[in-house]
């Protein structure tokens, strides 16, 4: 069992969720509520990582993370380090690759909140933030839960993008999914089997817990 790979995977998945959820809530709500020209284009951009081959996405990220590229340069001035083949790099790549998994369930959930509930909240004296906090977020909670579950589980399983951007540096960018591939390449089937089973259990448990939680709201029955 490659414990450092497991640790990298869990850290990556948790941090991706932490950074992506607030973004997913804001972006999802905006896409659900706003009406503007070019909205379809925005939605397509968000959904792109779903259909793009991970190697293609990884290739473009690798290009833009380079020291001569704008993103790489910006990161350099901000932190003094590079992005390619670092944990920060795969985290940034993971944020991009998981955007649709975080945004889409939340956007669908916001779309199902009737607009007159917002208006009723305003007429009850609640400002926009209070309305979001007390009315909208409790109602879109199942969407947020499934967005977190999908993002977490998908990050654990991401392979192509991470390999392109991060390589397989032990303790830094080698995730469990990559470690399994390495084990198989090294004909260590038992090691690969252990880690594959672990990934299966973790993913299944995450999804099970989340979907179980989402179905337990008394007010949604009846």
């Amino acid at each position: 069992m490659d414990w450092s790979a497991l640790s990298v995977s869990l850290r990556l998945a948790a941090l991706t969720c932490v950074f992506l959820l607030p973004l997913g809530i804001l972006l999802g709500r905006w896409l659900a509520v706003a009406r503007f020209r070019g909205k379809g284009l925005c939605e397509a951009l968000v959904a792109l990582p779903l259909v793009l081959p991970p190697t293609v996405l990884g290739f473009y990220l690798l290009q833009s993370f380079g020291r001569e590229a704008p993103v790489g340069q910006l990161w350099m001035t901000l932190t003094g380090g590079g992005l390619n083949f670092t944990f920060s790099g795969i985290l940034l790549a993971s944020l991009v690759a998981n955007l649709p998994f975080a945004v889409q369930p939340i956007q669908r959930a916001f779309e199902h909140v009737p607009h007159n509930l917002r208006e009723a909240a305003w007429c009850s004296g609640l400002g926009p933030w209070q309305t979001l906090l007390r009315i909208e977020l409790p109602l879109v909670w199942p969407g947020i839960l499934s967005a977190s579950a999908l993002t977490f589980a998908h990050t654990l399983g991401e392979f192509g993008v991470i390999l392109m951007v991060g390589g397989a540096i032990d303790g830094e960018t080698r995730t469990l999914a990559i470690a399994i591939y390495d084990r198989v390449q090294a004909f260590d089937e038992q090691g690969a089997a252990q880690m594959a089973a672990l990934l299966l259990v973790v993913s299944f448990t995450t999804l099970g817990v989340v979907y179980g939680l989402a179905g337990r709201r008394r007010w949604a029955r009846g």
Binding site: P114, N116, L117, E119, A120, A121, W122, C123, S124, G125, L126, G127, R134, I135, P138, L139, R217, R218, W219, A220, R221, G222
Partner: protein, 375 residues
């Protein structure tokens, strides 16, 4: 003055040209067919819709003044709004729904006050029910309590009885009438149900295509509609065209081949003037066979029964006069039977002079004239 005064105009996308007012403790019904702008006007009062031009004032505060780029947000207008489908927060219990507008109070007081409102609308014991666990009528009452809990300066009701069955509707209407004793703010009710409006409202404002055609008490409105359009929107059909004539020194109204006495309104009109007139159905008196009846000498008109429709204890009668116009009125079914009313039968009626209402200068079509109708 704690009155509500609304005056809004815009060319589009929803055309509006409406002016109406409502005194504290008074219930004003906005009545009109669907698409007449009723709900839009209600939303404009609440601050949920911003018309291009207008002035809205309530309890001495200016809520909207487009000339000075002034518009208060819904949060700052202190309106109690009951939405058509109630818009209860599904994730909050009945008590929490009502407590939400009370967030300025400390927690224990908030609960007490919300519980008191729940009791006022007779829902004590249902504090912890979620909206999905309440009946339609109970939901409406929670919505009403939530609207009132904010201690609003105006209560707005958007078709509040349309989502429940007939029996519940009657009960809720009685409930609202009872509750009004405790409410001393203007109440604006949007409805397309004329019966509901005349039963509940002190004042009715008739709307058509965003225009406010007339505001008056139900009695005044049903007896003296300002124009043929108002009469038609109020489902009043006895609107005719006549001509002012002078005979033996007095002005009379010629209608087909008969000349009618009119109690008021003719003096100022020159002979020869074409004028639209209306007669409330209650002022058409059927002459009994063989026996003189009250007012028989007043404007007697010969007619034949054109059509009869028995609706339970009342019968709807249409009489055709020789020159083709049709008089409609309702009489008790037993009276229709006693008088042998059958299609084709010849009858005599009196058109009471005091009921004839002249609408000079009003065409029979929906003309821009209506915009000048005094409100």
């Amino acid at each position: 003055m704690a009155r509500l005064q609304v005056n809004v105009q815009q060319a589009g996308p929803i055309p509006l040209d409406a002016r109406f007012g409502c005194l504290p403790g008074e219930l004003l019904a906005l009545v009109g067919p669907s698409g007449s702008g009723k709900t839009t006007l209600l939303r404009a009062i609440a601050g949920l819709y911003r018309p291009q031009h207008g002035h809205i004032e309530c309890a001495g505060d200016t809520w909207l003044d487009t000339r000075h780029q002034h518009s208060l947000s819904p949060q700052r207008r202190r309106v109690g709004m009951v939405f058509q489908d109630y818009a209860l927060f599904p994730h909050l219990t009945a008590l929490a729904n009502i407590a939400l507008p009370l967030r300025h109070l400390p927690q224990p007081q908030r609960r007490l006050k919300a519980a008191a409102w729940l009791e006022t609308v007779r829902l004590k014991g249902l504090e912890n029910r979620y909206p999905s666990e309440l009946s339609g009528g109970q939901r409406q009452r929670v919505a009403l309590a939530r609207a009132l809990a904010r201690d609003p300066q105006v209560l707005l009701l958007d078709e509040p009885f349309s989502a429940v069955d007939q029996v519940t509707r009657r009960r809720l209407q009685r409930e609202l009438a009872r509750l009004r004793q405790h409410i001393s703010i203007p109440i604006v009710l949007v409805t397309h149900d004329l019966e509901e409006a005349s039963a509940l409202a002190d004042q009715i404002c008739v709307l058509h295509n965003g225009n406010s055609l007339q505001q008056a008490s139900p009695e005044t409105l049903f007896r003296t509609p300002a124009s043929p359009s108002v009469a038609r929107l109020l489902d009043r059909h006895n609107v005719y065209q006549g001509q002012v004539v002078e005979s033996a020194g007095t002005h009379r109204l010629r209608w087909g081949n008969v000349e009618l006495d009119v109690a008021t309104g003719l003096e100022g009109l020159a002979p020869g003037t074409q004028v639209a007139w209306y007669l409330p159905p209650s002022d058409i008196v059927l002459h009994r066979r063989g026996r003189p009846s009250h007012g028989e000498r007043e404007n007697p008109v010969a007619a034949s029964v054109d059509d009869m429709l028995v609706l339970g204890s009342m019968t709807s009668v249409a009489l055709r006069v020789p020159h083709g116009d049709v008089l409609r009125f309702d009489i008790a079914t037993h009276a229709a039977r006693r008088n042998d009313l059958t299609p084709g039968a010849a009858v005599h009626v009196s058109l009471l002079a005091g009921g004839i209402h002249l609408m000079p200068g009003q065409g029979d079509d929906m003309t821009p004239n209506e915009k000048r109708t005094p409100i």
